[in-house]
């Protein structure tokens, strides 16, 4: 069956990336921690997601008809509603729990992490689709679509390389499971390489979401119009500010990709095969939408 035969009948179901979840690439605490898993993790996690998003709000320019506090309250409500419905958020919280008591939950962690990443890539593909749709109905320059989708697809590539790397680490962890010293050393090594990538990808996502928010808020007259489909017009934006954000996002993405090649040159040197169904972005969009 072709990709298009799985398309949803209503474009309205596709929404652009609107919330920074910070639920994936934080160093997954493969550290050798012995404390009991935190059963309150989902609540505390929601609070921290809200906090992260308010920080993004504070970093962007807002249209004069919205005050920051009203928007912050609105975002807090939207984020809470979204996260409660979001199965990925629950999975992410669960994975974090396993990571915190990693030695006792290693099997569960590796049983679920790859499936989680597949779903996450499906989400990212939806955002690529939504960004393309925003561009189609706007008078934005091509650099808008190019920069945003390139940064999203770079995130997908990171997930692939991350998975490849932890598959290798998994083997080493199993082999050294009974040697506590070596096990801890492997966990520390994992945390060391993940940390810089974690902070870089989070910065990229924050910049990207800031950019989308700036465009969306500027095109919304009321709170109700925020995050709803609309036709975007360049003339409503402060072009210098908007293009400055785009250039910043492009620079961060380029730097990130350069750093990624140090982890896996092979993945970059050879372009994915066109016959490989796993790389077909639209397939994954449709699969996610169908589920």
């Amino acid at each position: 069956m072709g990709v298009l035969s799985m398309l949803p009948s209503n474009l309205g179901v596709i929404s652009a990336e609107k919330i920074f979840r910070n639920d994936v690439f934080k160093p997954v605490s493969l550290g050798f921690l012995t404390q009991k898993p935190d059963i309150q993790i989902e609540e505390t996690d929601i609070a921290s997601v809200v906090e992260d998003n308010i920080r993004i709000l504070d970093s962007i320019r807002l249209p004069s008809h919205f005050d920051r506090e009203t928007l912050a309250n609105f975002l807090e409500r939207i984020i809470k509603e979204d996260l409660e419905k979001d199965p990925l958020h629950k999975q992410s919280a669960e994975l974090n729990k396993y990571a915190k008591d990693f030695r006792n939950h290693m099997r569960q962690y590796f049983d679920r992490i790859f499936d989680f990443h597949e779903k996450l890539k499906g989400d990212i593909s939806k955002y690529v689709f939504a960004t393309s749709n925003i561009f189609l109905k706007s008078d934005f320059p091509p650099s808008f679509a190019r920069t945003l989708t390139f940064s999203l697809l770079t995130e997908c590539r990171f997930i692939d390389i991350y998975d490849l790397t932890i598959r290798r680490e998994h083997l080493a962890l199993i082999t050294n499971y009974n040697d506590l010293k070596k096990f801890k050393r492997l966990c520390d090594a994992h945390n060391r390489w993940v940390e810089p990538f974690d902070s870089a990808i989070n910065k990229i996502i924050e910049t990207r979401i800031g950019l989308i928010w700036y465009a969306d808020f500027t095109h919304s007259k009321t709170l109700e119009e925020i995050f709803k489909p609309k036709a975007f017009k360049k003339s409503l934006l402060d072009e210098e500010y908007f293009f400055g954000m785009l250039v910043d996002l492009q620079r961060q993405t380029d730097q990130f990709r350069r750093a990624l090649t140090t982890l896996s040159k092979e993945t970059f040197a050879i372009s994915p095969s066109r016959e490989d169904p796993t790389v077909d972005m639209l397939c994954s969009i449709m699969e996610t939408m169908g589920s």
């Binding site: 035969s5 474009l11 593909s125 091509p142 679509a145 989708t149 092979e266 970059f268 372009s271």
Partner: protein
């Protein structure tokens, strides 16, 4: 001496960007697999290749946004079925006609070709009796374009970039050997500059017969720069590894031709490296 310590490959744009011929694509892939860690690209190659990709993406994107949708409307198609593939034939043929006036159209042909292939394949895959909104289809086409762009850019990111601003004196020497395309002059001059600054052999790897390989002999005789196709690159590196270093090699040429004397002077004045 091992190849690794004595020779590096500087890649031309055509090695990194898609090849029209399958055999060339396979050659590049095999070469990068074998020699990837010995490969560099100069900043001039990186910037030129990135710009080519960006410009192509932007043009195709705009064509889909500004021309394809009105084109579909003109043909009264707001929903697509599995019988509508031929509608795209006219649209993409028209784009190809426009490309005939472009200065370097290869990348454009490549991306237009990929988009056309994707569009037609997807249209054929729509189940009988099902219709797809034209807007939805165009959104999917734009998404696919982004995916193609990202995958084409990947090989550029995989190769280490050497930031080199080629000196005017060295560029003049490249021109004197018959190379006249200004981008190629920068790429070759960067490779020569790297070779003599670091005293390591550089093999410039390219498919470009017309602008570079046709001057292969003079570039080697005068500038001591080896240029070859990827097929021979490893053989070149192996043979060079038995040679002296580039500076020693040039010093040992005796007697030097007048062109070699001029080149040696240019290297000395621009890089402060004596090869006379």
């Amino acid at each position: 001496m091992s190849i690794e310590k004595s020779a590096y490959f500087f890649l031309d744009i055509c090695i990194l960007l898609p090849q029209t011929l399958n055999i060339s694509a396979k050659l590049c892939e095999d070469f990068l697999k074998k020699a990837g860690r010995l490969c560099y690209i100069s900043s001039s190659v990186y910037l030129r290749a990135s710009k080519m990709l960006d410009d192509t993406y932007d043009w195709v994107l705009k064509e889909i946004q500004e021309s394809l949708y009105p084109y579909l409307q003109k043909h009264r198609i707001d929903r697509l079925t599995c019988r509508d593939a031929r509608v795209f034939e006219g649209f993409f043929n028209e784009r190809r006609r426009q490309l005939k006036t472009f200065k370097s159209p290869a990348m454009y042909y490549e991306m237009v070709g990929r988009m056309e292939h994707w569009a037609v394949t997807q249209i054929h895959s729509i189940e009988l009796g099902r219709e797809i909104e034209a807007e939805m289809f165009l959104t999917a086409l734009l998404s696919e374009l982004s995916r193609v762009y990202e995958s084409l850019k990947a090989p550029l990111d995989a190769i280490e970039v050497k930031n080199i601003t080629p000196k005017e004196e060295i560029k003049s020497q490249v021109i004197l050997q018959g190379v006249h395309k200004f981008e190629d002059i920068d790429h070759l001059a960067s490779a020569i500059q790297f070779q003599f600054t670091n005293n390591v052999w550089v093999v410039f790897v390219t498919f470009d017969e017309k602008h570079i390989l046709s001057h292969q002999r003079r570039l080697l005789d005068v500038c001591a720069l080896h240029c070859c196709k990827p097929d021979y690159a490893m053989d070149y590196a192996r043979d060079i590894s038995r040679e002296k270093t580039p500076i020693q090699y040039y010093l040992s040429i005796s007697p030097k031709s007048s062109q070699q004397e001029i080149f040696a002077k240019a290297i000395e004045s621009s890089l402060h490296v004596s090869i006379k």
